[in-house]
């Protein structure tokens, strides 16, 4: 797949430092830095959908917003189509990476009609000649499956699903090649989610978009994405083809995540997920002698231990040094940030 990358993220970090009051500063109090995104490497190939999953607070939305340029980078770099994206993006770069937001009720300007919203972008960026703006508006409505008369309406006159279609049209107006969708269906009713998932799938095929689909919903990610990246406390802990990642997870966190997702159980076949076993691990964290040992040796060696060590059922001494993504010896398309990956050599699934 080399050479096929449209977007590359290298060591991206975004930390937030809360403001410290003057009095606290006088007493030398240091702010607690929130390392929302803490060194992420990610590759998006042309024409693929990459699912980005993780639990709340893992930094997936911050990562998405950093990629779009809404947040500056604390460290790391973003390459678009091989070229380094500078802090001040070129116009082409800015338009090429667009975002669909999560909350259809706050993502549209309540005072503007759909037509005003779209026309503003088309005119300002001179995307079509002035006399073609109306035509392009209608095309966009058709593209997202809304009737033409929707152009004259304001956000409050739409249902959640319809607003999300407008939000998609707004992103598409700028003719992007990369679309970042940040939890685009999680605020919608279950019966409406499929509409938006199918629409995004269709648009992706039709417009040859490359999509990063951010979600906490594992089932939705499995349905929509070609590859999946799992995020935990600011880092990617595993990436791979969606099917293999879901069927045979490598990283202990991915295993826990996937086994925790409730499935439609046939009666009598209620699965007791590993989560219950792992939960005792969470609570007994302090008592695990291996954990105490690696925290100690990490402190002595000046390294940081694996960020999943405190919840992990398979901690070993090597976990004192946080591993970066290690390629699975059996499957070059897949990697995980776990010392156990290398042991998989020779094991045939």
């Amino acid at each position: 797949m080399a050479g096929n990358e449209i977007l590359t993220v290298e060591g991206l970090a975004r930390h937030f430092t809360p403001p410290v009051s003057v009095t606290d500063r006088l007493f030398g109090k240091k702010p607690v830095v929130n390392r929302a995104v803490d060194g992420v490497d990610l590759v998006l190939h042309k024409g693929e959908t990459l699912g980005l999953v993780g639990e709340s607070g893992c930094g997936k939305s911050t990562l998405a917003r950093s990629i779009v340029g809404l947040y500056g980078l604390t460290a790391g770099a973003i390459r678009y189509d091989g070229e380094l994206v500078q802090a001040k993006r070129t116009r082409a770069q800015r338009l090429a990476i667009q975002m669909v937001f999560q909350d259809p009720f706050s993502s549209l300007n309540p005072r503007m009609t759909v037509e005003q919203t779209l026309s503003e972008l088309l005119r300002f960026h001179k995307l079509v000649p002035r006399n073609k703006v109306g035509e392009r508006n209608r095309e966009l409505m058709d593209l997202v499956g809304l009737p033409e008369r929707a152009l004259k309406q304001r956000p409050r006159q739409f249902s959640g699903g319809q607003r999300q279609r407008v939000g998609i049209a707004r992103a598409l107006a700028l003719e992007p090649t990369v679309l970042i969708a940040d939890e685009p269906v999680s605020a919608l009713d279950v019966s409406v989610q499929a509409n938006i998932i199918n629409l995004l799938t269709d648009l992706q095929e039709r417009l040859h978009l490359s999509v990063i689909f951010v979600s906490h919903n594992m089932a939705v990610v499995r349905q929509i994405s070609d590859r999946t990246a799992v995020m935990y406390r600011g880092r990617i802990v595993e990436t791979g083809e969606t099917e293999t990642l879901f069927d045979d997870p490598v990283h202990p966190y991915t295993k826990l995540l996937i086994s925790s997702v409730p499935r439609l159980a046939e009666a009598g076949d209620v699965v007791e997920p590993d989560a219950v076993a792992a939960e005792s691990g969470v609570e007994a964290a302090g008592e695990n002698p291996m954990l105490a040992e690696i925290i100690g040796s990490a402190a002595r060696g000046g390294t940081s231990p694996c960020r999943y060590a405190d919840r992990c059922p398979a901690v070993v001494a090597a976990c004192a040094v946080e591993p970066s993504l290690i390629v699975d010896p059996r499957d070059s398309g897949r990697s995980a940030a776990c010392v156990h990956v290398a042991e998989r050599k020779g094991v045939v699934a």
Binding site: E55, N195, L256, A265, G268, V276
Partner: protein
């Protein structure tokens, strides 16, 4: 046949609005047996939460019960004086809410919140109440309960808080727990733990469960019998297995095919067009007709009734409110034909 633990008959709930009445619950009847786990499934606005809240007199203002009766152990308690009724209901049922943080008192130690009911309602002494609270905390899987007894809600994680709420609900020794989307606000790994707690309660303590959720998968993890609600009515009921393997209402049918399954990927999800009807208007015909892939002319005029459909005698009665229920076997084929037709 013994009477069910809880029975609700023909419940109607209205919400007065500036421009008319919103008829939110439109004649819901349901029952929960002793130590039975029952799920109530529907999307937002289907009236599922209001139904649950109406049972404990916890309707948000200005919603009110218009009519309906509640039977406990087969006895109609609706006519009892307000105080007695409240007592009867709260003795039988405990409630767990979606948002554990706001459901707890932020300035009171969580242990004391659990011990409150044993202390004040069951007349236990202070030390007895504390012992009961610690037992309950152990029961809902809170490790190190003596230490956590002393903590305040904000010092606990979301999953722990929800367990505290379950312990509070259990503290009055109810025979039935009502749970309103208890895991919706939680992360999946935590959700799995809380669902495990609810499952164990039924197995070990013989406590019944009435679980409200929009997520069929969550319900399927804990419940053996389901009611599916749409636009203020129950449109289908039956055992979990029957409902998910052979749905007899197009709404259940569509929902099962429109929600992605984490176990596998499908070529294309089924889409349910449009949106639920406005409940301030009178609904003519079937409330799902406008969105139903199988609707025909009479569905838009005749209102379907929730009726038993082909169950063998002695089994749980299977009910569906669909005029075209006789075609249910062919639905899968009809939908795939339609999709092929489009392509």
């Amino acid at each position: 046949m013994t009477a069910p633990l809880l029975e609700v008959r023909d419940l109607h709930v209205d919400i007065p609005m500036p421009h008319g009445r919103l008829h939110a619950v439109r004649g819901v009847s349901l029952s929960v047996g002793v130590a039975e786990s029952v799920g109530l499934v529907g999307e937002s606005g289907s009236g599922k939460s209001l139904t649950l809240r109406a049972l404990l007199g916890l309707l948000p203002r200005p919603a009110r019960i218009v009519s309906g009766s509640v039977l406990i152990d087969g006895e109609d308690v609706t006519g009892l004086p307000a105080k007695q009724l409240h007592r009867r209901l709260t003795d039988t049922m405990g409630m767990v809410f979606q948002d554990a943080l706001t459901a707890l008192n932020p300035v009171m130690r969580v242990g004391d919140q659990i011990a409150e009911a044993p202390l004040r309602k069951l007349g236990k002494s202070r030390s007895e109440a504390k012992a009961v609270a610690i037992d309950l905390m152990t029961e809902v899987g809170i490790p190190d309960p003596e230490r956590r007894y002393q903590l305040y809600p904000h010092e606990l994680s979301g999953g722990m808080r929800q367990r505290i709420c379950i312990a509070i609900a259990l503290s009055t020794k109810p025979r039935l727990i009502l749970a309103d989307e208890p895991t919706t606000a939680l992360d999946v790994t935590i959700q799995a733990q809380v669902l495990g707690v609810l499952r164990r309660l039924k197995q070990d303590e013989n406590v019944g469960l009435l679980l409200v959720s929009h997520d069929l998968a969550v319900v399927s993890q804990t419940c053996s019998r389901l009611y599916v609600m749409y636009a203020g009515k129950v449109v289908e009921s039956g055992t979990l297995l029957d409902l998910i393997t052979a749905p007899k209402h197009p709404y259940t049918f569509s929902l099962l095919r429109s929600v992605p399954d984490p176990g596998h990927r499908v070529a294309r999800l089924l889409t349910i067009h449009g949106q639920p009807p406005d409940l301030t208007d009178a609904i003519v015909g079937c409330s799902f007709a406008a969105r139903c892939p199988f609707a025909e002319e009479r569905c838009r005029q005749e209102e379907p009734v929730l009726e038993p459909v082909g169950s063998a005698p002695g089994t749980v009665i299977r009910k569906s409110a669909c005029l075209r229920v006789d075609t249910a076997e062919r639905w899968t084929a009809m939908v795939s034909e339609e999709t092929v037709g489009q392509q």
